[in-house]
Amino acid sequence: MAEQNGAAEKEQISQSYWSLVWWKFKKSKTAVIGGIVVIAFYLFCGLLAEFVAPYTLQQQTEYLEARPQPIVFKNKEGNFSLRPAVYGLDEEIDMATRKRTYVVNKENIYPLRLFVRAEPYKLFGLIPMKIHFFGVNPDNSDAHVFLFGTDRLGRDIFSRIIYGGRLSLLVGLIGQALTLILGLSLGVISGYYGGSVDILVQRLTEFVTAFPREPLFMALAAAIPPKWSPIAVYFMLTLILAFVQWGGLARQVRSLILSLREQEYVLAATSFGASDSRIMFRHLMPGTMSHVIVILTLMIPSMILSETALSWLGLGLRPPLTSWGVLLQEVGSVRAIRFAPWLLIPVPFVLLAILSFNMLGDGLRDALDPYGGR
């Protein structure tokens, strides 16, 4: 055992920093699972939403607030079959409450198929396609599949969650890019120059962080003019989220730079006549990268969550834009929960996304410091 360890250590010595990081990252199961789920989210919701979803975003069907159809493994005769299928829904008016409900009709069974031709769309916004990942027989116009039910306009919730993930997850990425630019450059400048520049930036970050995060988000989001186009609102919202977040990053980068700038290689660079900006962004900034990556990864979930919360309150994104928060707008009342509880299905998706980001970030934090710790 001891010999093995010794051999492993010898092997380690000749490894580069990033391969050490990868080696340590792989050892943490939760981090790897988190990473895989995050990648899957961005792949299926971000890139391939049109392909994965059986319906398009705004496609309305005649089934209003229909309940989710359970998946069964049966064929038309009621015998077991490997091909999953869903039972059809029949409309029924509940005489007591005068409400339309749907009951499962076991007579109609619609087998699920892979790669069916349905509504046309453009993959990546470029390639016109008709093939969806799964669906029901497109030749049978009665056939339908609502895995998570439909909303009050008869739109398939499964498809909408897939599409909604795109905006929700993208808020995290775009917002982080902005946070990165603001926080990193101000942190580096503040730490490198010191003196009055430092004091100025320090006071600025202090002022921004003096505001409580949640109430400030809300106040700024409420200030977005309602007449703006949805896209403008989206970018404004991302900007706001980034604006509130950059202070923490700037502060941490500054303290890292403060220790890095005393290193010999900076002196060497200075004596070679390197300019300030070259030293800052070419020599000092890469040294902060591992910390920055961790901070950013751990910040993404709070951004996704903020967007969800703001949209849910009606202060953020609005239809026709669809994000997880917008989907949750429909369940603001107890009535909605009572009569259409499947509208809550976006909640587990938000939670899963947040959890996997946290798991990934936590693993990265351990892995990016491969020389220390256990």
Binding site: F207, A210, F211, P212, E214, P215, L216, M218, A219, L220, A222, A223, I224, P225, K227, P301, L305, T308, A309, W312, L313, G314, L315, L328, V331, V334, I337, R338, P341, L344, V347, V350, L351, I354, L355, N358, M359, D362
Partner: protein, 328 residues
């Protein structure tokens, strides 16, 4: 020490003035104001005298004056304790806040109590039994709890209550007690409603606190003075609770000051909206949506004030408790 406190107070005051100004601007940002909305509403209803009445309001609230002058009027009255009037309720902001302050404080304090009573022992257990099965379960749970947003959790709990228990758990009182005078029955009714938001609100805080407590205590347990206490033959229990925990708990005062203290005012806004609680949080959101600016501005300034006061108190308490820390 006194000069330090004095300097911090002056600094906080300057920050507060700046923050109040920026808050005022932010709330002022949306085009139009509360009265333009109101005017449209009245005109839509076919009110002929709408414009005249709106002009009256405008003069009454000083909305016809330029921004700086309005800010000055608001802030100078603010110091005297007059926070302006809410447009939406047509009553003084101070009165509206006062109505909800009691419940907000009760909810915040009960959440705080539950959080600390659960988190400290669990954190201590987790640290003293490092890498045991119990520790691993606690670590996993706290990890999940940390990422669990309370408003989504509240939605799930509401779902569970409605679908499984067939009960509406919103609010802090049953309907028959809402306007009733205080009595033992009403207090009992409050307690029956209070535990749900308390527990939901405590999840995130508890998870975070457990992790911090575990980390702090692990660090402290490795220090020589703990070793020395053990060497003197003290019982394990005494070493942990009287020697290590006392030191490890000190940094948590900062959390108490900067996070728990401000939450007395706002509490958990989003959860309060889901569960329909009569706290200040939902009032703030309504004020923002309705551009009820004096109301929103007042609450925002109060929150920031509480944060600054909290961090000052935390620093003073820390210096008093921990002789290694000196304020300068």
């Amino acid at each position: 020490m006194l000069t330090y406190i004095g300097r911090r107070l002056v600094y906080s005051f300057i920050m507060l003035v700046l923050v109040s100004f920026v808050s005022f601007i932010i709330i002022e940002l949306p085009p139009g104001d509360y009265l333009t909305q109101k005017l449209q509403e009245l005109q839509a209803r076919g009110d002929r005298s709408a414009e005249m009445r709106i002009e009256e309001y405008r003069a009454r609230y000083g909305l016809d004056k330029p921004l700086m002058e309005r800010y000055w009027i608001w802030i100078s009255n603010f110091i005297k304790g007059d926070f302006g009037e809410s447009f939406e309720y047509e009553r003084p902001v101070a009165e509206l806040l006062g109505q909800r302050l009691g419940m907000t404080v009760i909810l915040a304090l009960s959440t705080l109590l539950v959080t600390w009573v659960i988190a400290i022992p669990v954190g201590v257990y987790s640290a003293t039994h490092q890498y045991s099965t119990g520790d691993q379960i606690i670590t996993t749970l706290s990890f999940i709890g940390l990422g669990m947003p309370s408003f989504l959790l509240a939605l799930l709990v509401l779902f569970f209550a409605v679908m499984v228990l067939d009960q509406d758990i919103g609010g802090l009182f049953s309907r028959e007690f809402a306007d009733a005078p205080w009595s033992w029955a009403k207090v009992w009714n409050l307690l029956k409603h209070l535990w749900i938001p308390t527990l939901i609100g405590a999840v995130t805080g508890t998870a975070g606190l457990v992790r911090i407590m575990r980390g702090n205590l692990l660090e402290t347990l490795g220090q020589p003075f703990v070793e020395a206490a053990r060497a003197r033959g003290l019982k394990n229990r005494t070493v942990t609770w009287k020697h290590a925990v006392r030191v490890a708990i000190n940094p948590l005062i900062v959390i108490l000051g900067t996070e728990a203290f401000p939450s007395i005012i706002v509490g958990n806004t989003l959860m309060a909206v889901v569960l329909n609680l009569p706290t200040i949080g939902p009032l703030y959101i309504n004020a923002l949506v309705g551009q009820d600016m004096y109301m929103a501005g007042t609450i925002l300034v109060f929150i920031v004030g509480m944060i600054m006061l909290g961090s000052l108190l935390a620093d003073i308490a820390l210096a008093a408790l921990d002789p290694r820390i000196r304020l300068e």
